[in-house]
């Protein structure tokens, strides 16, 4: 029945495909390990995934416009470190001898602001100077990591207090707080991509930038917004990580951009832009998370984990390509 409408059934089949893959994966792991299908492990996996889901949601928006953001891992670290540092030490101005303390809310806002600002800067550089997103965000990857080292002096910032740590470790109505946070973000992102002008313009720009421009879309504004959102969502990830560990690590989030791009790609979003969805990315993130968890439970060495993950990404993209060809 679905096959009668190839254009509409393709995304459905795609969604279906990754769900099947996920199911097979879970089945396989649970046969091999009795620790996999336990309540504790279930929430543990979801809690771990939620950080990647936040980052990957932003990444999806960027990739849909035919861009890429390599700086999310570093932005995550800086946002977490800023929030932790302000919460722990406040700001002491030596000149007027003034001390500003920060509440948890203040620290969270500062962290989010940092991520948004760095993301906005990415977007500004990309649109104003017409730099390839790959280059601009690669530069930001280094810049933000360096700023993190400067801010932390290379040492973790710890002892952030229970009310901040609640963000990463707490439970609400029987569900971990990070899962609430990432779930809310996904819901908002689904709404934005499907139901708002911004979302529509994101798809249009990725599909054909010139057609979007001729239709009156302000390309620069949309792109800048998207990169700012990606930065903000990376910052959310940074807060969750920091709160879970009760510590802002200077090298937190290293290579997170790769996991996030992997989630986007496995989720069926085209790196050429214009095609894909937030929910696909969530599935991609879950597949990667379950795979990671399963490999750990099965005592596979971390080195082999990386090899396996790489092949899974290859497989996902090859399947996606052959789907596109059959279109």
């Amino acid at each position: 029945m679905q096959l009668a409408l190839p254009a509409n059934s393709r995304p459905l089949l795609l969604k279906f495909q990754s769900l099947i893959a996920l199911f097979v994966l879970c089945l396989g792991i649970s046969l091999l390990s009795d620790k996999f299908l336990t309540g504790a492990n279930f929430w543990n996996v979801l809690r771990q995934i939620s950080v990647n889901v936040c980052i990957s949601t932003g990444m999806t928006l960027v990739v849909l416009t035919a861009g890429i953001d390599l700086s999310v891992g570093s932005v995550l670290a800086l946002a977490g470190a800023i929030a932790a540092g302000l919460l722990r030490n406040g700001i002491a101005l030596t000149g007027p001898d003034l001390f500003i303390g920060f509440t948890v809310l203040g620290a969270v806002v500062a962290g989010l602001g940092t991520g948004t600002a760095l993301g906005w800067f990415n977007g500004w550089v990309i649109t104003r100077f017409r730099l390839p997103p790959f280059v601009a965000t690669l530069a930001m990857l280094t810049i933000a990591r360096g700023l993190t080292m400067l801010w932390t002096g290379g040492f973790p910032i710890t002892g952030l207090g229970d009310s901040f740590d609640y963000l990463g470790t707490g439970w609400l109505l029987g569900i971990p707080v990070p899962v609430w946070v990432s779930g809310l973000i996904v819901a908002l992102a689904v709404l934005v991509t499907n139901k708002t002008r911004l979302g529509r313009y994101i798809y249009a720009i990725g599909g054909s930038e010139s057609a979007a421009r001729l239709s009156g879309v302000n390309i620069n504004r949309v792109k800048t917004t998207v990169y700012a959102l990606a930065g903000a969502l990376a910052a959310v990830g940074g807060l969750l990580v920091t709160a879970r560990l009760d510590s802002a690590q200077p090298n937190a989030g290293s290579s997170y951009e790769l996991d996030s791009i992997a989630a986007v790609v496995i989720g069926g979003t085209s790196l050429a832009g214009g095609r894909g969805s937030i929910l696909g990315t969530v599935q991609g993130a879950v597949i990667i998370g379950v795979l990671n968890n399963g490999l750990v439970l099965l005592n596979v060495s971390p080195f082999w984990q990386q090899v396996v993950k790489g092949f899974v990404i290859l497989l996902a993209v090859i399947i996606d390509k052959s789907n596109a060809k059959n279109d």
Binding site: A7, N194, R197, R200, G207, A211, L214, G216, V217, N218
Partner: protein
């Protein structure tokens, strides 16, 4: 030397060439003449091996041949100088000339010395005074054209096809080229020369061949012909005139343009549009005719706010002076642009019909800040019905529809913004005859409903069929204006053909 018999070539239902017969004798320069779309380029691509699937037979020196690739044709001794430059900017002149046919030493390494020497010989012959190691990207466009010519001369070719070789070069370079063509003629080569510039043809050509609508119409010696004769042969066709309500009074101007100029993107001292002044009235269809490179597309794009920063002049929309810095301003003021390349600029091919139609005015389908799919689908269905877009549903991807239906989606998108002036750039290119007529009819309906329409086209019959008034562009200048009653193909073509020498 080269004879083509009954060549037929079809593109997806459109017959580009229909049983074309012609010959190119040795030691003569044959001019191939025809309007845009007459089939000149297609024919040259077949002769030079670019298109391998055609019907008919080609004889080279009396032997039947069939070229499977450009390399095949080159090996036989047929070289083509393309209208568009096919050079790699980051490689040197010598590297470009020998690209794909590099000379090697006995060790299998590149024989740089030999290649450089041969390049130098050719450059000297072509009187291009730059070292062979110069990067092509550093050359002026005219010099690049000379390199393109050198590429064709590198191998001893018997037939040399030149497709608009003078479109980018200066007068002194043209003189060198003509000297060279005379040399080739003396050496007994067959030269095929394609150009819009009639005076050039009279200077250099011995024979002419006229193509029209994919048919070979006539051929003969150039001697004794006049430009008027040639133009008559290019045109000579019965056309169905839909419009021409002579004396139709048009409303006050929707758009008035004064002294519109557009600077060249790379050559700051040159203007692509030169002091254009005109207006389009309410309910009026103004046809904008020009040959390749006359500035039709640039004019429409500039009005639409796409070349902000390079444009100057004054524009009034409905009496209010404005100047658009981005398309959004133009859209808000009531302008719409159906672009030339609909697959790239008109549509987002990967999105469905409904999304494409609503894209230029999402305010239409918004409800409390969110897009409303139901409203959007209704809007799309309205235009699917009104414009008779053939699609299984409004959810179909634009990619899957035919050219004519895609063009109707673009039209639907602009009609949804309720424009006062609709600009169309080559609205029926690559569209079958039925859809073409539907689009003409639609333009007439819209004009009758009071919309101003500015339609740019390189196809004369199209211009004549729909226009109330015809503007002619030539090399960025408005060279003539005709009312529907005065407009004839001869007069328009005469005004459109630039004079060089």
């Amino acid at each position: 030397m080269l004879v083509a018999e009954n060549i037929t070539k079809r593109f997806a239902g459109v017959t580009a060439l229909d049983k074309v017969c012609l010959e190119f004798p040795a030691g003569q320069v044959t001019a191939v003449i025809g309007e845009n779309g007459a089939g000149k380029s297609t024919l040259m691509k077949i002769l030079s091996g670019v298109y391998a699937d055609y019907e008919g037979q080609i004889y080279f020196r009396g032997q039947p041949v069939r070229f499977a690739s450009i390399r095949d044709a080159q090996a036989c001794g047929i070289a083509i100088i393309h209208q568009e430059l096919n050079l790699v900017p980051y490689l040197s002149i010598a590297e470009n000339l020998f690209l794909g046919r590099e000379l090697t030493t006995d060790w299998g390494l590149l024989d740089q010395k030999q290649m450089r020497r041969k390049t130098q010989e050719l450059l000297t012959r072509l009187k291009l005074d730059v070292p062979p190691d110069t990067l092509v990207g550093e050359l002026k466009v005219g010099q690049q054209q000379v390199v393109e010519i050198a590429k064709a001369l590198l191998e001893e070719s018997e037939v040399i096809i030149m497709d608009e070789p003078t479109s980018a070069i200066s007068e002194s370079e043209v003189a060198v080229l003509f000297g060279l063509i005379r040399d080739l003629r003396r050496e007994g080569k067959a030269v095929v020369y394609i150009s819009h510039k009639l005076d050039e043809l009279f200077t250099i050509a011995d024979r002419y061949v006229v193509l029209r609508d994919g048919h070979s119409i006539e051929s003969g010696p150039m001697a004794g012909m006049t430009p008027d004769d040639i133009i008559r042969k290019m045109v000579g066709r019965d056309i169905t005139i839909i419009r021409q309500q002579a004396g139709k009074t048009c409303g006050e101007p929707v758009v008035t343009v004064r002294d519109l100029c557009l600077r060249h993107p790379t050559r700051p001292n040159e203007n692509q549009l030169k002091n254009l002044s005109f207006s389009v009235g309410r309910g009026e269809i103004v046809g904008l005719f020009g040959l390749m490179g006359a500035g039709r597309t640039e004019l429409l794009e500039t009005l639409f706010g796409l070349h902000h920063g390079r444009a100057s002049g004054r524009v009034w929309v409905e009496g209010k002076e404005t100047f658009f810095t981005a398309p959004i301003g133009a859209i808000k003021a009531g302008l719409g642009l159906v672009p030339e390349d609909r697959k790239r600029d008109g549509l987002v091919l990967g999105l469905d019909v409904q999304t494409n139609i609503s894209l230029a005015d999402l305010g239409n389908v918004e409800k409390t800040g969110l897009l409303n799919r139901v409203k959007e689908a209704l809007l799309a269905r309205k235009y699917i019905t009104d414009l008779r877009i053939k699609t299984p549903s409004e959810k179909q991807e634009a990619r899957n529809l035919s050219g004519g239906n895609q063009q109707k989606i673009v039209l639907g998108k602009w009609l949804a913004t309720n424009p006062r002036l609709l600009m169309l750039d080559e609205p029926t290119r690559g569209i079958d005859i039925n859809a073409k007529n539907e689009i003409y009819k639609l333009m007439l309906q819209l004009a009758d409903a009071g919309m101003g329409i500015l339609v740019a086209s390189s196809e004369l019959p199209e211009i004549l069929a729909v226009s109330d008034r015809v503007l002619v562009l030539s090399e960025g200048r408005l060279t003539a204006e005709f009312s529907a009653a005065e407009a004839t193909e001869n007069a328009i073509l005469k005004a459109a053909i630039p004079s060089t020498i």
